[in-house]
Structures are given as C-alpha cells and as structure tokens.
C-alpha cells in the first residue's frame, strides 16, 4: 500500500516538476506564463496522436516537445515582441489549446468514446537499487522521464545560480532596462527561456498521455499547468524548492487515489479536490513577492 502510494507520488510529481522547472526559467527572465496549461495540454494531445499513428513512443515524445515549443513561440511573439499583457496572452492560449485539442480529438479519433490506447513507456529499473525493499520499487523503477525530471533539478539550479548565462537570464528578469544598457539582448534571453520551457512543458504533457493515462481525454492536463505555477511560488524560485513542492503536490494526488482505493466513506470527489485546494491555500498564504524576480510580469519594450 505504502509502496504504491510512493510510486504514484513520483509519477504524479513528474509532469508538474517538468513544467515548473521550465516556468522557473521563464519567470527568472521576467515573464509569467499562464499559457503553460495550454502548452501541456497540446503536448499531451500531439504526443498521443504521433505515438498512435506513428507507432513510436520516441515520435510521440518529439511531437509533444514540438507542440509545447510551438505554443510558447506564439506566447513569446505576443508578450516579448508585441508587449501584450502576459496574463491575457497566457489565458488566450489556454483556451485555444483546450478548444483545439478537443476538436482535433473528436475529428481524428472519432466521437465513439472508444479509447485509443498506446503502449505505456517502458520502465527502466535502476539495477540493484530497484531491489531495495519498499523504496526500490517506489523510487528506482520508473520510466526515463521520471529520472530525467529529477535529474534536471540540479542542472537548472546550477544553470541559474552558477553560470554566466543564468546570471544574464536573471538580469533580464530583475531590470530589463539595465540588462539592455549592458548590452544583453533581453528579447533573445526571454525567447530562449520560453523555448526551453515549451519543450519541457510539452514533455510534461507527453508524459500524461504516453506514460500515465496511455490515452487522451479532453482536458487531460486538468489544471496541472496551474499547479506548476504555484509550485514555482511555493518552491520560492529555487529548483530544489520546486522539487520538494512538486513531490508535495504529487503526494496529494496520490493520496486521493489511495483513499479511493481504500473505499473510505468520504466521497472521493473531496480527495479529487485536494491538490486544487492545496494550490489555492499556497497562493493565498505563501504569496511570494519577496523571492520573485523584480520585473516579473511587467511588459518591457526598448525605447
């Protein structure tokens, strides 16, 4: 029981962590991308479509990444080059992705409701580690994306705090005008952050269809993009904090399954609401102005 709970926690944490790490880079560069939900959803859809019709998981992952990048490129064009309000642009993309994936799904896969399953991504047990009692199955017997997302945590931490590139990215989010005066290309830095984030968010979406549900249903991301946004706040804009917060949200989702399985008298809808309630509580209490980049969400255009 506990093993299943821990395994499920890691599985649920993975897409959130992937999306949150991408969003962290975007926010350090000074943008806030509410469209992350839409990028995840389209990643989920196109990953499934490519994997189903192309018959290959790798093709599916590539399509997920590609569509995440495409959605973020539209966002970048709007907010970086045209200085559109970021909340408006992000919300528009969320609605667009929800509508388009729904329409495409019915068009490509018919309205019969019969599910189009794909093979789940292969598990890669990590040798003897996977044989440790209890913990082995829970932490070291997952597919490659789970390992990848957690391996990314120190990489992003290092990139942001210990490299010249990370310093420049943070400079763009701290004071874009000063970064510009020092010869940094703020537009390019922000585009780069959004492209990387698009890839990671698309991958998070692909994880949902190729490794978790093995099929697509409308709105399969179900707010996980928004959860990733609050994970960035709860994690205080630190990669390690993001990992911890993702696990917390993953655990809340896993708990909901465990409780359903146990068949308690409490209506299961209450547990379904748990992660969302946690999001609201986090946003309302932690706030997070102190650790946020100074120019977060402010449109910037060169004079």
């Amino acid at each position: 029981m506990l093993e299943a709970f821990l395994t499920s926690t890691m599985t649920m944490a993975t897409p959130i962590l992937l999306a949150a790490l991408g969003e962290l880079m975007v926010e350090e560069s000074g943008l806030i991308n509410i469209g992350i939900e839409g990028a995840m959803l389209s990643g989920a859809f196109f990953a499934l479509a490519a994997a189903y019709f192309g018959g290959s998981t790798v093709l599916g992952l590539a399509a997920g990444i590609g569509s995440g990048i495409a959605i973020n490129a539209i966002f970048a064009l709007m907010v970086v080059n045209l200085a559109v309000n970021q909340v408006v642009a992000g919300t528009a993309l969320d609605i667009l992705a929800l509508g388009l994936t729904g329409v495409f799904y019915r068009k490509f896969f018919g309205v019969t409701g019969s599910s189009f399953m794909v093979k789940s991504m292969a598990r890669l047990p990590l040798g003897p580690l996977a044989n440790i009692p209890l913990l082995g199955r829970a932490f070291f017997d997952h597919n490659a994306l789970v390992y990848f997302s957690f391996a990314l945590v120190p990489v992003v931490a290092y990139m942001l705090r210990r490299t010249r590139y990370g310093l420049r990215l943070r400079a763009a989010g701290e004071r874009p005008d000063a970064a510009d005066a020092l010869g940094l290309d703020v537009y390019r830095l922000r585009w780069q952050a959004l492209i990387v984030s698009g890839a990671l968010t698309g991958l998070a979406g692909a994880f949902l269809t190729l490794a978790y549900a093995n099929t697509f249903v409308e709105n399969i991301s179900a707010g996980r993009g928004f959860v990733a946004l609050s994970v960035v706040i709860l994690g205080r804009w630190s990669s390690w904090g993001l990992a911890a917060a993702s696990i917390l949200f993953g655990a809340a989702m896993a708990l909901q399954f465990a409780m359903q399985a146990l068949g308690t008298a409490i209506p299961y809808q209450l547990f379904l609401a748990l992660p969302y309630a946690l999001t609201v509580i986090v946003l309302a209490t932690v706030g997070g102005q102190v650790a946020a980049p100074s120019a977060l969400g402010e449109p910037y255009s060169r004079s």
Partner: protein, 489 residues
C-alpha cells in the same frame, strides 16, 4: 574623436534634442552643462545606444555606430554611468559587476570577479562592500561607485558620467577628480554631465552647453565666467537670488525628539538623539551619507519604530501635520507609472480632502494638479502626465508641492536638492524659506554644505547616529567637513 551629428529625438510632443552637434576629443574631460530637462541624459543615451534618435548619427574615430544598439556602443568602447543607477538591486555586488566587464573570460566565478574588482578599486581608492552583500541594502553613494567601477571594467575609450557628483560626498570629490584626470592622461574621453557650473569650470577642459534640446555654446573654454555660463544655461533668466532667510525661530516648539534610539543587529544606528524643532526656522542637519540620516527620516515618517526615546508633538501639532520628503524620490516618494495628480493623492491628507464618501473627486484633484504645475513651475504637459515622464528636477518640485499642499506644520526634507539644477534648487529653496517665514518648522537633512550654510538658522552635525550643534564660529566648510567626518563622535 567622439562626434554626434544633427541628433534629433522626440518623446511624444517633447522635442528633447533638436539637431544637436557634439564633439569630444581623445584625452579631454568635456563637460556637458545644462538645466534640468535640457536633454543631457537623452544625448547620453543616444551616444550609448540606449535610445534611438529620430535622426542624426554618432561616430567614434570616424566609424558610424549602429543607432540604438547598446551592445555595439559598448563594443566600440562607450560606457555610461547613469543618473539613477542602472543596477540589479536584488543581486550581490559581485553579480552586478560580473554583468559588466569583470571576469568575462574563463569559468564563471564570482570570487575572480571580486578579485579583479578589488584590484581596480584599490587603484582608484574606492572601497568595496563586504563579500556577497546585496545591493539594495547599500547606500546610494556606494551604489554609484559600483556603477562607476562596472563602467570602467569595460576599459572604455569614452566614459559618460551623468551627474555623478550629485551623489558623492564632498570628501569623495577630490579622489573622483583625480580618477577622471588619470583617464584623461590615458587618452580616453570623459564626458561629464552636470548642472553645477563651478564643477564644470574646475574640472573640464572644454564645456558644451545645452538648453532646451539645443546646443547654445559649443566646446567653450572653462575660463568662461560663471555669470556668462549661467546666462547660457538659463537663457534670459538670471539665476534667482537667495530670498530673505528667516534666522532664529519663533521659539514655538512644534516637535521634540527626545533621546531617540534605534538599535539594529546590536548596532546603534541612532544613538541618543535629542532635537527640538520650532516654527519659523530651518534647522540643518549635516552629515556624510550613512550616518543614520535615512533611518532618522524613516522614524519621523513612522515607517520604523524607535528602540528607545520618543518623538513628541507639541499640543497643537498633529501627526498628520508632519510632511516628509525622503531622499530616494524614485523609490520612496513617487509612483512613476501613476499620473501627476494621482501622485498628489498618495498623500493620505490630500486624499481625504478629495474624497466624498467613498468617491474620489477626480475633477478637483486634477485642478489641484494644474494649480501645482503652474505654482511650482513643473514642466509637464498636464496633470495627467505620468510621473515617469518628468525630469528629476520636476519630480522633486512635485514632491515639495505635495508636501506643501498638505499645509503641514513641519517639513522633514532629506537631500532635497540632490541632482537638481540651479533653477529647480532655487525654487525648492524658496519654497522652504517661504514655508519657514510663514511660521513652519523645517528640518533640512543634507550633505550639501553650501545649501545648509545658506538656509539654516541652527545647524547640527550627525555622525554615527549622534548629533551635535555647531557654534557659529564652526560654520566654515573646512571645520564642518571635519565635524561631518566624525572628529567629535
């Protein structure tokens, strides 16, 4: 040779630069002199690539620079130190310098950046903050020094300094001039933007004067008499005379600071400060930045609570009758992306006056804005102009106007004329003097001795959080300089 030719730049309806030609030669300190709003900063931004001109071009040694590209300007060797520091406040000073020319090669290592910076700083006689210190906790003058250091890290052929001395303490000035002379000896070009005549005459090899976006005197000699330069800067307007200064107050005490204490992290910042302010008088408080002035202002503004002692109002004074004008006006005093009239209403007393029930009387507030524009000679298109569109002097006029509109009994003003030109300084001084003459009490906290000596009845010196009243015999710049350096505390 640096040359800007026929530069024109418009901001909406404002013609900031109108066909400006400017030239500076290798190995000279060239002063760019002008009133507030004359277009000096805009010209600097055009040269440094931060602002794209509507027309005209900039060349360095004959090669034209790509307009509006800071990268290219930096690569060509043009570095600028801005009037309000272009720094990353939430980062450490090492990170700020790493974004400049320090530690650009090899592995990214902040210790290497600090070492390179320390080497340059010790050559220049500048002191660096402690390792890893975050900028927002450092003083304004420290930040300006860091920005200067960062600009020098690019080893620029052209160094443009926008009003650098307005944030330097008098004691730092000599070292600063020495530094500029060294740069000149190395064959670099120093463009020094200032509105202080005396400074330009003392240090520059040649002077170019801007007035309302036009060059009115090109590369003239620093021997040009002050009066003549003032005429060039101000046009027909002669520099205003100092108004009649009320000395010796009415004796009516309005505010008493009694043995005030502020202790932070075990350090005493304000150390047993006792001071009585009375109506009809400007009381001066001289000091080098960072000796507790900022904290004192925050105590008086009730942003902080004292660790001991008290701030007592006389029976007829209310807390709302103390108006505070803080020094860092962009951060503390004005909200730049609000309009002029909205900024006036940031003052609770004024907001109350323009509120009916829960409705704001916008028309009346606008009318006050228009009145303030006329009365305090604020150069703004309308009360709906954003504070961000105002030049430094006009922002300061707006702050003074807001404080005065409250009809307070006490005004606390901190470095109120820092960075202002002659006309704005005179206007602000006159407003303070008129206020005192009408029975108000003023506490003028400043590091500008000329200002203090000209305006103040009683004059105190603050050093390490302690204050001391000066005797009339001590009121010479030399003696006051020693006292400010803490010769007694």
């Amino acid at each position: 040779m640096l040359a800007a030719r026929a530069i024109t730049r418009r901001f909406g309806r404002t013609l900031a630069l109108d066909g400006v030609d400017f030239e500076a030669h290798a190995g000279e300190i060239h002063a760019l002199l002008g009133e507030n709003g004359a277009g000096k900063t805009t010209l600097m931004n055009v040269i440094a690539g931060a602002t794209r001109p509507n027309s005209g071009e900039v060349t360095l040694d004959g090669a034209a620079l790509n307009a509006g590209s800071p990268q290219e300007a930096l690569k060509a060797g043009i570095a600028a130190v801005h009037q309000s520091p272009m720094l990353f406040e939430r980062m450490s000073w090492e990170e700020n310098l790493a974004l400049g020319g320090f530690g650009r090669r090899g592995r990214y290592d902040l210790r290497a950046v600090a070492a390179e910076a320390a080497a340059l700083a010790s050559q220049l006689g500048l002191k660096l903050p402690p390792p890893r210190a975050i900028l927002e906790q450092r003083s304004v003058s420290e930040r300006v020094r860091l920005e200067l250091l960062r600009a020098l890290s690019f080893e620029p052929l052209v160094l443009i300094l926008d009003e650098p001395t307005s944030v330097l303490a008098p004691s730092e000035l000599a070292g600063f001039l020495e530094l500029l002379e060294r740069l000149r000896a190395e064959g670099r070009i120093v463009v020094w933007i200032t509105h202080k005549l005396a400074e330009a005459r003392a240090a520059a090899d040649r002077i170019t004067v801007l007035r309302q976006g036009r060059v009115v005197a090109r590369a003239i000699s620093p021997e040009t008499p002050e009066r003549e330069l003032a005429q060039l800067m101000l046009g027909e307007l002669a520099p205003p005379d100092a108004a009649a200064i009320p000395k010796g107050g009415s004796g009516q005490s309005v505010l008493l600071l009694d043995n005030l204490l502020l202790i932070e992290d075990g350090r005493s910042i304000i150390d047993g400060l006792t001071l009585e302010l009375s109506g009809g008088e400007i009381t001066g408080l001289a000091g080098v930045d960072g000796n507790g002035q900022t904290e004192l202002v925050e105590l008086l503004a009730r942003v902080r609570t004292p660790s001991g002692g008290s701030i007592r109002l006389s029976a007829r004074t209310e807390a709302a009758e103390i108006a505070v004008i803080p020094q860092d006006r962009d951060h503390d005093g004005l909200v730049l992306d609000m309009t002029l009239w909205e900024n006036l209403l940031l003052e609770p007393g004024l907001r109350e006056r323009f509120t009916n029930g829960s409705w704001l009387d916008v028309a009346k507030a606008r009318a006050l804005g228009a009145d303030v524009i006329a009365r305090y000679k604020i150069r703004a298109a309308s009360p709906d102009a954003l504070a961000a569109e105002l030049s430094g002097g006009n922002r300061q006029r707006l702050e003074v106007a807001r404080a005065m509109s409250l009809k307070p009994k006490v005004i606390i003003a901190h470095n109120i004329c820092r960075g202002l030109d002659l006309a704005a300084t005179a206007d602000v001084h006159r407003a303070l003097v008129d206020f005192a003459a009408a029975g108000g009490a003023v506490l003028l906290i400043s590091s500008d001795l000329d200002e203090l000596l000209a305006l103040c009845g009683r004059l105190f010196v603050i050093s390490r959080g302690k204050i001391r009243e000066t005797e009339p015999a001590e009121r010479t710049p030399e003696r006051l300089g020693l006292l400010m350096a803490g010769a007694w505390s």
